[in-house]
Symmetry: C4
Subunit: 273 residues, 4 copies
């Protein structure tokens, strides 16, 4: 399980409630010391892995959301902080309170000096940043958001421990390229040296099967458990997980696969020419 820096519960609370450690999905902000402090807090909470998020650089073109705002006449600030209001209107930092007000609702950002923070991401993040982070993180370091062979290779060279192929749910860019199509490239780039996880579009046990068949070490899910949570709370999340497990068992049985490690690329066929 991976907890976001922008989550509404702290890593200590989640770890206590869960009874075992969680990974931290890191948004390092534009101030090095702030990002470093988040990492150290996660490590202190026993987090075995820090996952640097690079698939949602500051801002994205969420037009459906912006358009919905024009229809929904309610004032966002009636429910949300003003920073969110600005974000929803396509002007993420236009709120009166700025980043600090946004941060006030984020336990992982509490107690930090946010006076110079303007964004969850450095605007100039590059491989030197990864190197510096690698030297700082004492547990496993993964990068979430790698979608090309070349970046996978460079990540390996920078001592990264694992990759998550992700496009932030497909709403951070406009390529329409699904992660399942990026996955083989990234696996090729990783060359077996580090594990490759994939998320984005995993909705079925058969999706899990396909991702594993391409060579993914594991898969991640986002919306499915949110849907279960929104509909039924904890039992909804448990139902989602059980559905995925059952569907995976069903397709494995049907495909004659007796264990997960036997789900190999042999199961992938192209279309008739």
């Amino acid at each position: 399980m991976m907890l976001s820096t922008a989550g509404t519960s702290s890593i200590e609370e989640v770890t206590a409630a869960r009874g075992t450690q969680v990974w931290l999905q890191l948004y390092p902000t534009n101030v090095w010391e702030v990002g470093r402090a988040i990492v150290k807090r996660a490590e202190a909470a026993g987090s075995p892995a820090i996952v640097l998020t690079v698939d949602l650089q500051e801002g994205s073109n969420r037009e459906t959301l912006f358009r919905a705002q024009s229809v929904d006449k309610r004032e966002c600030s009636a429910c949300h902080q003003s920073a969110y209001t600005g974000y929803a209107k396509g002007r993420p930092r236009a709120g009166a309170g700025g980043f600090a007000q946004y941060a006030a609702r984020k336990p992982m950002l509490s107690g930090l000096d946010l006076s110079k923070v303007t964004a969850l991401h450095p605007s100039d993040m590059n491989w030197d940043f990864v190197k510096r982070l690698r030297d700082t993180v004492s547990v496993k370091l993964l990068i979430k958001g790698i979608v090309t062979r070349e970046d996978a290779q460079i990540a390996v060279e920078h001592g990264v421990d694992g990759l998550i192929v992700s496009n932030h749910g497909g709403r951070a860019e406009e390529t329409l390229r699904p992660t399942i199509e990026s996955l083989p490239d990234v696996i090729e780039g990783a060359a077996g040296k580090i594990p490759v996880i994939v998320d984005g579009g995993i909705r079925r046990g058969t999706d899990i099967f396909k991702a594993l068949a391409y060579g993914a070490t594991a898969v991640g899910i986002g919306r499915p458990y949110d849907w279960g949570l929104a509909a039924f709370g904890q039992p909804g999340v448990e139902a989602v997980l059980e559905i995925l497990r059952r569907e995976l068992r069903t397709i494995m049985r049907q495909a004659g696969t007796t264990s997960v490690d036997k789900i190999t690329r042999n199961y992938i066929v192209g279309r008739l020419a």
Copy 2:
């Protein structure tokens, strides 16, 4: 003609009514002796071929059916046995009566000791099972449900007499891969050593033509005769068969093919590049 183990008439009745022998589509159950007894009963009834079904391993994700259940408020048990009720609700063995109650409606399972039977399929069916079955079956043994080149090759090595490319009507898995696309692979795997039959999606005489053009020895149909039966009874089934024959004749005439054995791969063309 092939009779299912789960059919609602016995092989003796069907053979008598038809006046000639039928193949048996075998669901061997999870108890070897039960499956063996079904085979021997079919052989005693003169069945020339036992067809092991491998395209529907225990359970499948029939969501359309499950969803329809939520809409249809009638109690399934008003018409069906409770085992079916559980199956329709996605919990195949949840019925109070278990497999025995399900079996009570299946003449091919009558008179057998079903006390240890929990499913139509062994949960651990593998090629050793095929070998054991091959040694048991004294008539022809075919496998229904082969969709890959590799499995076709292994089947040949195990002394299987023929293959049926099938995906159980497309509802047992979620690949969306039609059997017509699996057919060339399986034919390649069979390498001309044993005949390859195909079912799934055969709805037209032109479908028959295409399957034969790819090299199928014959085709099987399922739903078309069911539709005819449901609509008009025996005349409906006869009408379906005549429609298929007429359509095949029409396309053969149009294609300039004077006999079925001249329907070769030459008739297949790709799309313009």
Copy 3:
């Protein structure tokens, strides 16, 4: 211009009205002497080319028409001869009057001994038939309905003077293969020895351009002039022809093509890989 054997005017009438000769689209019937007589009548009327039709072998599966019959409660025989009634009902020869009654409305069949004729096509037409026809026809002989490279080659070997790539408007078979995709194969088969014409789907001047670019010598149209005729009579047909000419001029000008013979395969591009 090409007149069908099944047309509702005779070749003599059409030639007189037009003031110049027309080609004859030949349906030879299943009786050699009848087909021969039609050919000789056309030759006597000055027809410069006999076009053997092979793209609609006896009967086709016109389900849309058959289905419409179920909805349209009027008796076909109120307007049409009974032979047509049978045809529309999917039983082409079921009418009481048989072929003779059908033929009574076809001037090109008048005066012939039709007592042994049961169909417009021989049911056993083959290349020997073409050879015999070739020896009989003293003017040009073309075949309409060639869609493969192999048949084009065999036609050349049999001394045929030209080919028309056609699938009888796409309603005589169910391949969904458009003639524009068959055209390159046929042109390759003809190898420049005889001209290749194409019809089917020519609806625009740009369609003409594309067909010529693939190497067609000319194109044929069917439905477009029918539509014009049905809507406005002769002026409608003239309008259709003028629209096609104008559209061809427009695309030629746009493509920088100064004459029809400069419309070459260079104009064809594939899709971006």
Copy 4:
């Protein structure tokens, strides 16, 4: 910025209003001296580049417009000059006033002897025309409307200074080939000797990114600024430009591209085979 010969403001007015020179999009008419005079007027107004338009040869098949005319019962001449009326009806020169009346609304055509002009384009434009124009134009000469490798090569040989890949918004022909698919061919033809610009379908910052990734030197837009202008006047145009800039920044940030010249073909990936 590029001003059309058919614009409703003169190049002198636009240059004065803008405070800097603009390119002239040249429609040379069918009379050489008229085209030459337009070129010289543009050069006198300081225009640094003359762009010969070849993507809309006289007339195009604008059926949607023609069809709309049948629905809109108002007389075109209530608002437009009669020449436009004829054009809208598919008979461009049918108006009583002819080209002169059309030209009366075009400042760039004022003061010229239009007595022999019947069209914006020579009907016989060819590469000799380009050569003659090249010898006449003392500033940069570009051609707008090149969509093939071969034409790009010939343009380079004729001393043209740059190319604009364009299909006049896709409404001048019926190939449905988007300019983004023509772009690589033209870039290959230009072989790095002259810059290649592309317009047509540029609606997003991501479209700009893709065009640059293929190797375009720059992109052009047409409809987007028209939409902004029609909706909100000058602020609308400014909003359109700002949206494009913002979207380009967003995708560059997301793609990890720190400057426009780093947007290379490496960013282009094909589909999974």
